[in-house]
Amino acid sequence: MHTLHDFMMLTKGHEYLIAVGAMLLFTMFWLLLDREHKSDK
């Protein structure tokens, strides 16, 4: 990593992956937990 630009090429990719992963995980958990909650009622 010799320039700020190179650095950002690397880190931005990581950041987006983590963020999108978080979104997907959150969505999955919400749908799962919500369904269980409803069936408990």
């Binding site: 990593m1 010799h2 320039t3 700020l4 880190t11 950041e15 963020a19």
Partner: protein, 304 residues
């Protein structure tokens, strides 16, 4: 700014872990490829009139159409020119206030920045800073959005507006293909006054400093491109103020990628936080609706 300090720490940790050769304290300005090449243009040596051999050599090296007027037609200097798809470099004339007899000639072309705005702006990575130094263009992925042209603080990139099927962004390549063959850029090779020197950037900076030291009456004590926008591979010496001879006036040392770093840093944060926040909002407003339905039973959900 808080965001940048946090980024500093992230940089430091990642760099240390990755074992990269960067300062463990986390510098925002990276030193760049150490062996990268550059060009020093000494405008005090450039004769400009009846010459412009650099322009001619550049056209030949890049397969561009030759000049339409003879090289000794000095009327071209009557107006300030910019680069265009047939001219990757232009020499402009500026009056020297201290020396009206001898105007100053300045050769303009891509500055091959260490942290190019064009590369930062390009959404498909069509521009790249090579390890050798030149900033080069990949015509096979460019989509023609021209954001690079908006971003470049030196107004260098030009566009083939009259080619409908294969328009490209055009600019000086520092003769990258020639460099790969072990040759030197065409303009540096042809200049009869040796105003254009090609070599390692580090060496050129020392050379420039030496020139200033040995001839303080001749040069303004500033190497243009040493630090501007984070440093450029193309460096200049001059006998007048750079702002008076066509160089952009208010460039700071901030490299252009740093200008959008803050916003781009916020994006993954929004992606992570917004879903939780909006789902919470939805749950909250739904529950209120349910409560009012149970309590009032009026059938009117929510309120104004």
């Amino acid at each position: 700014m808080k965001m940048d300090r946090r980024q500093f720490l992230k940089i430091g940790t990642t760099a240390a872990l990755a074992g990269a050769a960067s300062n463990a304290e986390g510098e925002e300005y990276f030193p760049g490829w150490p062996d990268r090449l550059g060009i020093l243009t000494d405008t005090t040596l450039c004769i400009g009139a009846n010459c412009r051999k650099c322009e001619e050599a550049c056209k030949k090296a890049n397969d561009l159409p030759p000049h339409t007027t003879p090289l000794n037609d000095n009327s071209v200097f009557d107006r300030i020119r910019r680069t265009d798809p047939q001219n990757f470099t232009v020499v402009n004339r500026y009056p020297d206030p201290e020396n009206p007899e001898n105007p100053i000639y300045v050769k303009f072309q891509c500055m091959h920045c260490n942290e190019p705005a064009c590369a930062s702006a390009c959404l498909v990575k069509a521009f790249a800073k090579t390890s050798e130094g030149p900033v080069i263009y990949n015509k096979d992925i460019c989509i023609g959005c021209r954001y690079c042209m908006v971003a470049c603080p030196f107004y260098i990139p030009t566009y083939d507006y009259f080619r409908p099927y294969d328009p490209q962004v055009r600019k000086c390549t520092m003769c990258y293909s020639r460099i790969k063959e072990g040759k030197i850029p065409a303009c540096a090779e042809v200049c009869p006054k040796e105003a254009i020197t090609f070599g390692k950037r580090e060496v050129l900076i020392n050379l420039a400093r030496e020139k200033i030291r040995n001839h303080p009456e001749r040069y303004t004590p500033h190497i243009y491109g040493e630090h501007e926008v984070g440093g450029t591979s193309w460096l200049y010496l001059a006998g007048a103020e750079f702002a008076d001879i066509g160089f952009p006036k208010d460039l700071t040392e901030t490299p252009y990628p740093a200008l959008t770093r803050g916003f781009l840093g916020a994006v993954p944060l929004v992606l992570t936080i917004w879903p939780v926040f909006l789902v919470g909002l939805y749950k909250f407003s739904n529950r209120r609706g349910e409560i009012s339905k149970n309590v009032g039973g009026s059938g009117r959900r929510g309120e104004e």
